[in-house]
């Protein structure tokens, strides 16, 4: 998914998901990243997308809560 073109696209110039996300980051950090730096960030985003893809393959149910669990107070009261 990460290095592929957007669904339904046959245009080889269409940006990949990694590049779209990199463009979003570049906008977020307004002008901080030049073209060569964006290239480096895009490669890292691609690797992160691989990680995300592997985690998405792990089955979870609605009842599976994250760790740690939210607690409305810092410590249990006596």
């Amino acid at each position: 998914m990460k290095g592929e073109r957007m669904p339904g696209s046959n245009n080889e110039h269409e940006p990949t998901l990694a590049r779209l996300r990199t463009a979003d980051i570049a906008m977020q950090f307004d002008g901080s990243l030049d073209a060569s730096e964006q290239e480096q960030v895009a490669r890292r985003v691609e690797r992160m997308l691989d990680v995300i893809e592997e985690l998405r393959a792990y089955p979870l149910e609605n009842a599976d809560e994250p760790a740690p669990v939210f607690r409305p107070i810092g410590k249990e009261q006596p």
């Binding site: 980051i25 985003v45 690797r47 995300i52 592997e54 985690l55 998405r56």
Partner: protein, 466 residues
Amino acid sequence: MSRERDFAYATVRQLGTMLRNGQTTPTELASIFIDRLERIGTQFNAVVTITRDLAMREARLAEEELAAGHDRGPLHGIPYGAKDLLATSGIPTSWGAAPLRDQVFSYDATVIERLRNAGAVLVAKLAMVELAGGMGYSQPNASFTGPGINPWNVEAWSGGSSSGSGSAVAAGCVPFAIGSETMGSILSPAGFCGITGLRPTYGRVSRRGAMALSWTLDKLGPMCLTADDCGLVLEAIAGPDPDEPTTLDTPFHYRPSRDRSAGFRLGVLREGVQNAQTEVRSNFERSLNVLARIATLEEVNLPDFPYTQTARLIISSEGASALENLIASDRVKELTAPEDRTGGYANFSIPAVDYLRAMRIRRHVIDELDHLFSRYDAIVHPSFDMVASPLNVSFEEYRGERRWTALSAAGNLAGLPAITAPNGFGERGLPTGMQFVGRAGEDGRLLSVARAYQHQTDWHTRRPEW
């Protein structure tokens, strides 16, 4: 020189005895270790700041108190070094990062306060990988103090990110040091430098005043010559902290005299060992033979989870948030490792839903590992499959196609305590290590196992030539 060396490589417990029977004084010890830090520690790029004035003040106070019969316990008058991510009032705390080398906090981290209350003497802030490795460094030269150098072989890396803590203890420049671990940053430098390093249970030690990389994974712990010393230091720094909500409610008491020295039940994780370097494999087998004298051994496997990916996603997400100000300020461009100058940006691509997915998987990891570890006093495994890498080689190039277990990611995800102890030497004369991983909260039991192992071996008494 031999008098200096006698003190330089003495354990914390031995130094305590020497102080109390008049063989030395806190001020002499502070002077010796400061001199070694300047003369030897700097050769290993282990030192950021030597806190000479503070150290001599604390040492004089310790001397007066001990002379007056006011004994604060086993760390009283003992010099130590702190990884340079722990806030120290009025002394720079650089987080290993060039753009922050003049950063000064106006308060002490809880760990620093607790060590002062125990009478320990802070002699140095020790070098570390910039931002504790949070920008994804991929080779040893990733700190403004230079790459951490290994006292056993100056062409090898010390490990990281607590690099100065590892090499300074190994080279007899401090009797103990404080390191931090998010995923491997205590066990790696301790293992590669041939010392004993303890990663306590998550929440055992307050992180108030420590640089945050990943709130749900960061831990602080002792790096020493022996497991016994780790216990002494852990007792001083552990315990609840009202200013740090993740600390455990229960205090930690180190009581080695009440512990078992045999009759342990150990799980042996062999997964991946076949891919380890030859000496790592043979040293591991020899260690198992030693452990068989004091324990029953049973082969185990880790439950099947995407440990490394889960840990990586959590660290990346939390690290992006924790270090957002620095990244937004553009000062990351001043970092030492070229890959770190852009490494943090990519983490802003992680959707919240994927962070939560990782945290939901983590809940299963915690439950399954608790079930597994509840059956053993510890699970044992080589600390690493390879000895420390050469200084001038990227980690990827050094590792090649070699695959290793995910025990480090698993243990850190579940907040489990772990200790590494030296168990021999491998390629290029570099140390190999054995790690013991325990059930969450069972730091004391883990220390008992490691101490019993060190009673049977002498690898922890080997010293480099410095």
